[in-house]
């Protein structure tokens, strides 16, 4: 594939060994967005974070830009960012609603996003507007397949 040739050429030039990590962890009972965020819905409350696939591809997170409590989030729109390897990367909300809590531990320990993306690395909690929005998200099996296909294309 052109992408693998390009990646191999880059790796050879950069003199780095190229190891595929294997499949990223996916958790049951969560729903997933194609921009690699997860959401856990419990009643009209939701917890949001980024997936293991995302944290693995982003590299070591050194900073998380959190929204303010009370901010409105919209499905598919950016609400914050993570910084890793000199890059800021948008975090997009898988669900619409109002931010009721942010994970302030990430201010001092941004690496929680890498170490525990589905648990202590959660990013925001949201009071959701419309539970039906979840239907447009992927279930764990669909997301696993999506990640495999995306990695295979590049």
């Amino acid at each position: 594939m052109a992408s693998k040739l390009w990646a191999t050429r880059a790796a050879s030039y950069l003199k780095i060994s190229f190891q595929y990590r294997g499949f990223a962890t996916v958790i049951k009972d969560l729903k997933y967005a194609d921009s690699h965020e997860w959401v856990k819905v419990e009643g009209n409350s939701a917890t949001v974070g980024i997936t293991d696939h995302a944290q693995d591809h982003l590299g070591d997170v050194v900073y998380v830009e959190l929204p303010d409590e009370g901010a409105e989030v919209k499905q598919g729109a950016s609400f914050g960012a993570v910084e890793s390897v000199k890059a800021t990367s948008d975090i997009n909300s898988p669900i619409s609603g109002k931010v009721v809590e942010v994970n302030t531990k990430l201010n001092d320990s941004p690496g929680l996003v890498n170490a525990s993306p589905y648990e202590s690395g959660w990013i925001i909690k949201v009071e959701i507007n419309n539970a039906d929005e979840v239907k447009s998200l992927m279930d764990p099996d669909q997301y696993s397949k999506f990640c495999e296909e995306e990695d295979a294309k590049h």
Partner: protein, 264 residues
Amino acid sequence: MAVSQTRNLGLPLINLLRLKGVPILQQLHLEERLLRTSSDNWCIINDGTIDPTIVMGVSGKPQELLEIESILRDDIPVIRRFTGGGTVIVDQGTIFVTFICNKDTVPGLQSYPQPIMSWSSLLYKKVFQGIGDFRLRENDYVLGDRKFGGNAQSITKNRWVHHTSFLWDYEISNMGYLKLPKRAPEYRQARDHLEFICRMKDYISRSSFIDSTIEAVGSEFLLRSAELEDAHCTLGSKFEPSSRLLRKQELGEAIFKSLTASQS
């Protein structure tokens, strides 16, 4: 001419915007607007900026990175930019090259930080072919073991920006405004700025670097010359860029923070 046009068929289109001496804050605002509100690909080359200016990454802490008292004394502007990465001091000797692309523009490129940086390093490798020992080393552009360009990125759902400030030349005295950063690549080995960086002018002329960069970009994209007015026309008016000048009061508060931190 007809042959080169035929060869270019199938390459993605990129708008080439050549600027000279545009203030860095204005450049950053333009980049952020184009990232967020344009759907075109852009290559911006700004040949020097008018006033010496310090530019920190999005999470930079002035008390850790800057000699604030000297900066306040000498009235040096300090900007916090929208991309990640470290701190640079830029002036007329700096050449800026920026790429703003849709995520599917470069075939096979995943829009994550390391793949984007690997792609850009291969492009710049063409520029420095036969000129110096260029490589991407721990996310820095180096000639040998000396850094000559600071690069950083911002990645959205469907687009990304990769920008570099190249040290074609620099003032030794300006480097005195920057502290040794806590987060540094291993190859730096605690070297201070003057032992760690090098001048691109020792390797290549200013015009050759710009011409070779444009040629390298032209090998991967179909170039379309653009003017600043073209860039402004495409922009959505509601968007507010986040890159900003830090107020003197903020820098003063940072001195206080560093004093209280050292006393605790």
